[in-house]
Symmetry: C2
Subunit: 347 residues, 2 copies
Amino acid sequence: MDDATGPDGQRRPAAPGVVRMRDVARTAQVSTMTVSRALKDPGKVSADVRRRVEEAVRAVGYVPNKLAGSLSSRRSNVIGLVVPSIENSLFASTVQGISDVLRQHDHQLMIADSGYSAVAEEAAIRAFLGQRVAGLILHDTTHTPEAVAMIRQSGVPVAENGTLTPTPIDMVVSYSNFDAAKAMTLHLARLGYRRIALVTLPASTNARSRDRQEGYRAALAEVGLPADPRLMLEMPPGLASGAEALLRLLEGGAAPDAIFFAGDVLAIGAVLECIRRGWPVPEKVAIAAFDNIDLLAHLVPPVTTLRLPRLEIGRRSAEVLLDRIQGRSTSRVSIDLRFEIIHRAST
Amino acid sequence: MDDATGPDGQRRPAAPGVVRMRDVARTAQVSTMTVSRALKDPGKVSADVRRRVEEAVRAVGYVPNKLAGSLSSRRSNVIGLVVPSIENSLFASTVQGISDVLRQHDHQLMIADSGYSAVAEEAAIRAFLGQRVAGLILHDTTHTPEAVAMIRQSGVPVAENGTLTPTPIDMVVSYSNFDAAKAMTLHLARLGYRRIALVTLPASTNARSRDRQEGYRAALAEVGLPADPRLMLEMPPGLASGAEALLRLLEGGAAPDAIFFAGDVLAIGAVLECIRRGWPVPEKVAIAAFDNIDLLAHLVPPVTTLRLPRLEIGRRSAEVLLDRIQGRSTSRVSIDLRFEIIHRAST
DNA sequence: TTGTAAGCGTTATCAA
DNA sequence: TTGATAACGCTTACAA
């Protein structure tokens, strides 16, 4: 057993309370290797040793150093997650799902946000790879070429979440924004609406918005409704934005009979504006939303929307990563999770 | 310069694409130490070497291994955060604030949620200490004794966020739940309301709720209003809960003229219930909320509430930790951030 | 079942 | 300004 005070090398001293495996080993009268075994694979040591080690761990207050462990074993138990915005509560369920699964499997979650910028995402990915994460979860599906190259070179498994992209880096776990927007548009058409407007977030920087626009157009084509460009609007996120979109559409020269708000909290802003003005929904105009925000069920009237598998996306993403990390699978899965239309009084 | 293929020790092979500092060193024709210097402190190497190293880094696609770096330097750039719930959007702003500051200072964020359980919080803290985080941010201010002991022994700086506790482990960055609840209650009294009800989340497990109840009582005492126990309610979180609280209070035998919802989205649920029933607010009953959720400003009527420094709490927490980590400060600060009453039409 | 030695990829230290 | 060497605290590989 070696001594902590080396002959010369005076490094930055460890914090006073820092306990190393060798301290446990000394207390338990065994080698560090035996401590290591007793901790990770208790079946491999004698009952007596196991007991002594456990006791020593408690006595000295030992917390194993994962940095050293991971460096040595070349194995990490940290997963890196990049979301466009931490503050946006739509992503919160997904993060919760990821966190739940990781906790059960003794893994940790590192999180960063890109502010909807691919360049910032690249920086976050580089930092995560520097931390030698065992896997990555990315909400966005568009990345800088450098980011993709780094990930490929590192060999780290990746799950992408934002939309069911046909060209994933590795694995995708999502629902189809195209299918979802198409399904809701068809639903509105089936209810008899003929002038269905679509409001999305700006599509130029957002693959999800683009997919939704295409799904909407596909639905119109399918039922033989004309695609009036005056009925398609792109708005910034926010409640006020939804109200503004409503007014612009209704007071323009080509008023819709239904508006499908396919983004953020736009629909809520619109319904509140209707309440404010005393406009009856759906008589004045029908309103549909895109996400199962709790509030939509409690608005007046309750709002028709899509139930998206946000939590499940998180859970499954974590699961497919763990499957790969723990060698249970080598396949590059693409998981299409299901959505559902929740019909309520607003349409 | 040594060779990667050792004489015998056949460990788990590194991933194919993994590049080490020695690869950069070989390419740039310098020692690893010089590469290390060129990367961390470019001023300490010659311009020529700097250029060669930079080029080599790019050529081989080198991403420094922080695990090895932190192990060797005994310095980490990871901060651990434990929140009660990831999904609860009230914490999202704080997380965003933390993340913003950390990114600017090249630090990473690890996040875990405790599900409002001190035992789960302890497990998360143990895991973080195992990762040798440089600092901890805890939303809760009540912890298991073991958790406190571990943190103390580790010497890691901690910032607590939930309420302005008089007995922090180390540092606190928060607002006073007592003062905030008191201020709003006084505000209602000043507006002429005489039967002011308080609805909080269950106080038995939540220090924040307790502080708010005490602030409410203190305000009543100060203005000489009686504290009618029938006017104090504890409810689980959620929109439906708010509606239920409203009905219970108004249809009980001791109807209030104002209700102060000091928790979660309770106030929103109550206002929506009023809209549903056509009850005029504040004529039928005045309603005040506790948090600056965007939606409150857009409801009908807009709801009086408190502007709490959620984002700022995150930013300041990260800042005081970094101050300590980087040796700019040794003091155990306690920061009382300010709140503000936003008076709107609902009261 | 237990221990010894080497090495994980970096940085601190000291010497040149 | 640069490099050689010894840690950092753990686990792998192998020997006893």
